[in-house]
Structures are given as C-alpha cells and as structure tokens.
C-alpha cells in the first residue's frame, strides 16, 4: 500500500496544502489556468532554468475588483462614509458642508467637482485624532452587520473563490502572498487575517501616518494623523519596494491602477506572471471591465500577462454557498 502511494506523495502533499480540494477547482480549463500551472511548475523546478528561490517568491494581489467584489459600491469607501456619518450624528462633522453632504448623498458629480483627492482627504480628516485601534474596531463592527445590496451576504464572503484558491496554491508553494491595494490599509487589515488569512503586515494600502501620544500614566496610544499617502498606480511598485524590498514575480489586478505593478512583476530578471481579472460577467457579477488601455495593453504586449475572463475562465465565483447561490439567482442591481 505504501509502495503504491509513494509516487503520489507530491500530489498528496499539494492537495493537503490546499485544504484537500483540487487546486484551482473553480477555474475552467483555458489559457489562464494552463499558464498558472505551467509557470508554477517551472519556477518551482529546482533543476530548471526558471527556478525562483523561496525567498524571492513574492506574489501581490490587488484587492477591490481583483480579489473581491467592488460593485455596485466601493466597499472601503462605503465604510468610511458610514463612519463619517456616525461622526456627523454626534455633531463632530457638519453633514451640510461639502464634501460631506455629497458623500452622504452619494452625489458623485458633486464629489468629482469638489475633486476626488480633496474629497477623500476630507473624509479621512474627519477621523483624525481617533485611536488607530478605534478605527479598526469600527471597521470590524461595520463588517459584522453590513450586507451586500445584491447578494445579501457579508462583504467578506465576496472574495472570489478562484482567487482564494490561487492564493492558497501559491502559499502551498512557499510564496508570500501580499495584498497591495489603493483602499484604506486600516480597513482591509481589520478583516484580512480572519477572512482570507492575510496578516496585517502583508497588507499594503493607502495609509494615514499615525501620531504618537503619551498618556498621563506614561502609556502610549497611537492616533490617526492628517498626512495621507495614496497607494495607487506607480505608487504601488514604489511602496512594494519600500515595504517588501523585493520585486514580485506574480501580480494580479483588474484596472489601469494595477498596470504598473503588473508590469513590474513581468519585466524583472525572474520569470514573472501577471493576471488581469476582466469583469465581463453581467449575469453573476458586473460587466464593467475596459477592453483597451492599462492591463489590456499589457496583456497584448507581454507574453507573461494573461487576461482572465470572469465569465469564461471561472466556473464558480464565490466560495460561500449563499453568496454563490445569490450570484446565480439574484437580480443584478
């Protein structure tokens, strides 16, 4: 019996690392799945030319729209607006003043006219001075009761099953998996470890530099400051260097915001792989992915960058049964 199983041991080990399910089970056969398998086999083959030492196995995933659903509302912002609303309710924010009025009325035209950067800065400004732990607790409390307008499930159930499988497969092959997002870092960190197993130090997002405060009893607290740093576009590779200190060999994104990071991953000395998650599935999710520019261009120009059609390449969208069922039956909204 042992002798019969012996040749299967590597496969068994692989399956064990993936929680017992087949790796990439939610992916249909097709170019992206084949590319992932071929690339992973090549870069982990110690005797091959594409071998990547364990220390250099860095994989970066964009969050919103790449790893979980970002429509119809951008979840991190929805939380921040609700948090500002709670401050307005107790008089700490003037709900009639701009840009708060526009945020609270979801008036995108008014926000655009005000300036997105300034509008986000004002939103962050309204929580300046609260403890970083209070912000984290608020995010957790919000996520515990909020549900998605179409699917009716908690937001954290809306991570894409194929992407979770991919993260697990990479981790089973000794990759470090990082989230690199334009969203507020403190929001994503509030749930990432519990929901998808990514610890806070592996979440790089837009951040607000905290301030040091010493209490009268000599104890230390950290409060949210005013200075904000945006982690988008070309800042993503720059912050990857500052925070990780190595060039990633895998990157996944869904928008032009992720193009520099994906380009960085596929143009280094090591053999990299990039995936463009293309939102073309109006039935189960939302069809809004652009078909040119940004990552579309990268996939056209670079042999190592692949377009993933959510409609055709994924046979399952969500891991949670309730979410998956809703994706198949609920009216798109």
């Amino acid at each position: 019996m042992t002798r019969i199983l012996l040749p299967l041991l590597p496969l068994i080990a692989l399956l064990a690392g993936c929680g017992g399910t087949e790796p990439l089970a939610s992916w249909n056969e097709g170019p992206p799945r084949a590319a992932i398998r071929e690339w992973l086999a090549a870069v982990t083959d110690e005797s091959g030319p594409d071998y990547i030492p364990v220390a250099e196995r860095i994989a970066v995933f964009d969050n919103d729209g790449t790893s979980w659903c970002e429509r119809p509302d951008y979840t991190p912002t929805t939380f921040q607006v609700d948090l500002a609303r709670s401050f307005a309710a107790r008089g700490a924010v003037d709900a009639t003043a701009m840009p708060y009025r526009a945020w609270f009325e979801s008036d995108r035209d008014a926000l655009r006219a005000f300036g997105w950067r300034e509008a986000y800065a004002a939103l962050n400004h309204s929580y300046a001075g609260i403890e970083v732990t209070a912000y984290r607790d608020s995010a957790r409390a919000w996520l515990a009761h909020k549900t998605h307008s179409r699917y009716g499930t908690p937001y954290t159930d809306l991570y894409y099953a194929p992407m979770l499988e991919l993260m697990e497969l990479l981790e089973a092959n000794d990759f470090q998996v990082w989230i690199v997002t334009g969203a507020a870092q403190g929001f994503v960190r509030a749930y990432s470890e519990q929901a998808i197993g990514i610890p806070p130090e592996r979440v790089i997002g837009s951040w607000t530099t905290p301030l040091y405060r010493q209490n009268e009893d000599g104890s230390v607290r950290l409060v949210r400051g005013e200075e904000q740093r945006y982690n988008g576009h070309e800042n993503k590779p720059a912050n990857i260097e500052t925070r990780i200190g190595r060039r990633p060999v895998f990157a996944a994104g869904n928008s032009s915001n992720d193009q520099p990071m994906c380009r960085y991953a596929v143009t280094g000395e090591r053999r990299g792989l990039a995936l463009w998650i293309h939102h073309d599935d109006a039935r189960r999710e939302y069809a809004y992915g652009r078909t040119e520019g940004g990552l579309a261009d990268l996939c056209r120009d670079h042999a190592r960058a692949y377009r993933v059609s959510m409609k055709n390449d994924w046979n399952r969208l969500y891991r949670e049964e309730a979410a998956e069922e809703a994706a198949l039956t609920a009216d798109p909204r």
Copy 2:
C-alpha cells in the same frame, strides 16, 4: 530509552530551535536573563493569564548599538559617505562644496553647524536617480571588503552574540523578529537576510521613496527618489503601526531614540518586555551609554523595562571567534 527521553522533549525541541546551543548562553545569570526567561515562559503558557497568541508575538530590535556595534563610526553613514565619495571621484558630486567637504573630512562640527538633517538629506540627494538595486549592490560590495577599525573584522561579524541568541530564542517561540532602525533601510536590508536571517520586509528604517521608471522596451526599473522619511524617536512606533499593524510585545534599544518604541511595547494590553542595552563596557567595546533620561528613565519607572549591562550581563560579545578575540585583546580605539 524513548520513555526516558519523553519528559525532555519540550526542552529538546527548544534546543533544536536554537541551533543546538543553550538558549542565551552568552548571557550571565542576572536580572535581565531571568526576566527574559520568566516573561517568555509566561507569554507562551497557553493556560496562563499572560498568554500571547502567536499572531501577536511581534518583537522589534533597534539595530545600531542594540544589535551590532555602532562605534567608533556609525556604519550606515560610513557606507553612505564612501558611496558619495565614489560619486565625487567621477565628478558627480562636488567634494569641495558643503556639506560634502565636511562629510569627507569627518568634520562633525561643520556638519552640526550645517544641520544634521540637511547634511543627511544632501548625502541622500547625491544618489537620487540611481536604481535601488544599484544602491543595494554597492552596499554589499562595500561590506564585503570593509573592516572595523578596532576589531579588524567585517562589520556583519559585529552583531552581538547575546542579541542573536535572543532573536533565535524568540523565533523558536514563534515570534516575528523585526529590525526597526533609524539607519537607511536600504543599507540594512542589503545584508540582513544573509548576515542575521532577517528578510528585507522585516527591516523598517529611514527610507527614500523610490520612483517608477519605464524603459523603452516596456520594462520597469525603480530609482531612488528625493523624498526622505526618518524612522527615529516617535516615528518608530508610528511606522511600526503602518508597516506591521500590530503593537509589539518586545522591544530592545540602546538610546533615547528607542524610548518611544520601548514604551509602546511595555504599555499595551499584553504583557510586554523592553530591554535597554547599556554601553558600559570600555574593555571589550565602548562605554558611552547615558545613565539618565530616555531608556534609563523608562527602566526606572516601568517594571517591564530592564537595563542590560553589556559589561556584567554578557559573558561573550561576538559570535565570530576572530571578533570575540579582538574584543578581548585589541586596543580600544
């Protein structure tokens, strides 16, 4: 035989995690060693009141003067000055202009008059535009041939044996060990993984935000930018929050620069421990540690902060034989 060894298994496992040597062998019996052992036993005891879950076992070590020797010259700066010198040699930096002239002549009075912050900024400015990988390679090349003026050994052999043992003991107990330093992050990262097993993502130092550049062939390179961020004093806890996202439960430092970080570690909800590495050993190293203010005050006021006398608490300074022998025999310089 198995039955006899069974009760010893936890001890054997502990020893195995420390490379076969006794944990803290270079520490003399005394209050700091006893405090470390007692604290570690308490926070890893699942049934005890002080238990700290594995995910929260964050340990932060200052680098210069805490983990390795920083005298007579501050090594990271010595490298940066030598690098600027190489730029001056090919005409890229004017060696007669201030503050370069003062840097090249080690004229501390002139540097102080110029302003330390501005002097460091100018030093960093001279490498703006070079690839981040080129800076790293320069640091590695420099470390490969430079030796310490007193001990005659490579700088990376001058990590303190007791601190390396402590890092190893913490890691054997599932702690994440981070370096949190005021030194240039890129310099420390250039050697930390090879020399002391700390990967680049676990080094937080003063950094220069890199800039994204796309080459004509579509490939990406990152170059050093102009914007600098100093990781000292109160910035250390702030950057720990930004980078790690958890409050450390262990911190070690040697100067007032480390006081906020050590205070942060010992005043949280979890039972923390802080060590003040006090330079009082003129024979084997250098005696320059202050005896009041900063960490001295913290150790006086907080039961969880301990002074470590390098002279009395450490029976060995360096792990490398040549360095240790030089510490015992070479003339102090």
